[in-house]
Symmetry: none
Amino acid sequence: MRLLLVEDDEILGDGLVAGLKMEGYAVDWLTNGKLADEALKINSYELIVLDLNLPDMDGMDILRALRARKDETPVMVLTAKDTVPDRVLGLDSGADDFVIKPFELDEVCARLRALARRNEGRSVPHIEHKGIILEPASHQITYHGEKVELSQKEFEILSFLMSNIGRVVSRARLEESLYSWNSDIESNTVEVHIHYLRKKLEPSLIRTVRGVGYIIDNDDDA
Amino acid sequence: MRLLLVEDDEILGDGLVAGLKMEGYAVDWLTNGKLADEALKINSYELIVLDLNLPDMDGMDILRALRARKDETPVMVLTAKDTVPDRVLGLDSGADDFVIKPFELDEVCARLRALARRNEGRSVPHIEHKGIILEPASHQITYHGEKVELSQKEFEILSFLMSNIGRVVSRARLEESLYSWNSDIESNTVEVHIHYLRKKLEPSLIRTVRGVGYIIDNDDDA
DNA sequence: TTTAATTTTAATGCGTTGTTAATTAAGGAT
DNA sequence: ATCCTTAATTAACAACGCATTAAAATTAAA
């Protein structure tokens, strides 16, 4: 699950990154407001953690710009107690949650889980297709009524494919959804995980579109 | 997917072309602003990557002229950090995204994908004609209800012809859509693929217009 | 620390695909 | 009718993309 952290404080940022990675997030950490603004135009994060107090650009501007682009990604705002204008705490700010510094890492994580859950809950209760039931909330898969144990990466790949049923998903796009920008995957990791998925489920479930990507088809034949 | 790169720096351009081709784009590279302006009046691209700092013509003028012609092609602008007038960063410039030099090739590619995605997301209509159903999203062809397996090049050629039903498409134009300008195809590749298409579908489907090109006719006779 | 599980890397093999090139057929022009 | 040009057909070959496997590296768990 991809997460963007915008935090200029080195020490705090470092700790957050470590903690969030431990929670299983693929974290991109930016210390620069303008870069963050740019990064968000790519729009491929599931969560954003945003410090309002940045040196080069007001965090609120980033948030405003984000919402102006109709980007609904859940945003958690970090602020120091005395720098929060009251209006910010209102609903119109566009943020989904606030944490006041100093805070406990555990609390942030719990709130993030809640955010993610709430966000999934709206749009994707569970996806069902060809005998597969995928429940994002519990992170579990059922295939023809039987539980199937998937590793994290396998789950993420399947999720991505299943939320794009009928559309070809390029390998690059899959990689984007699994990793953060700068992490270089120069090998065939995705292929390998696809292979494991086919093994655990049905080989014909995921169709290869040579030179293009992978797809889970709509139709019932294969 | 055709992409126009306008970049005067030889070294940078060379690298970009290589990288973009690797991503599967058919890249046309122009180092000259005026030529680019002309090219954009004639050709149509799915993406444009534009360096603002050109020797003979301001990149912004190209962009302005493009938008003045109601051309909505997504444009990614490349700029050096200190040469970006602030106004350029505003929404009114007409660009869809910016990248500040120096940049990572990976980032540019990721952003381009995002641009293309945003742009195409609206409508991916399937084309239907004479019993053939072509679905770009799933990359599949049906002929009289039966699935037909096509290779990538075959698929691309058929796509191009089917989105130009009733119009003759010259071989040069087909080659352009499959390859970039300067990539040399000195043989009859297109003919060969046309041949395979006719074999897999109906020989009479694609009519040869001698000395001109190929066409899929409107009418029901052949 | 040891063990197990997960993830990544790397190497291999195979089938598909794109391209080339040579030959045959067809269409126009003289 | 013949010649010349253009297109169709076929086969051969090289290159590529993907699947698969095993092993290494990393991470989590005991």
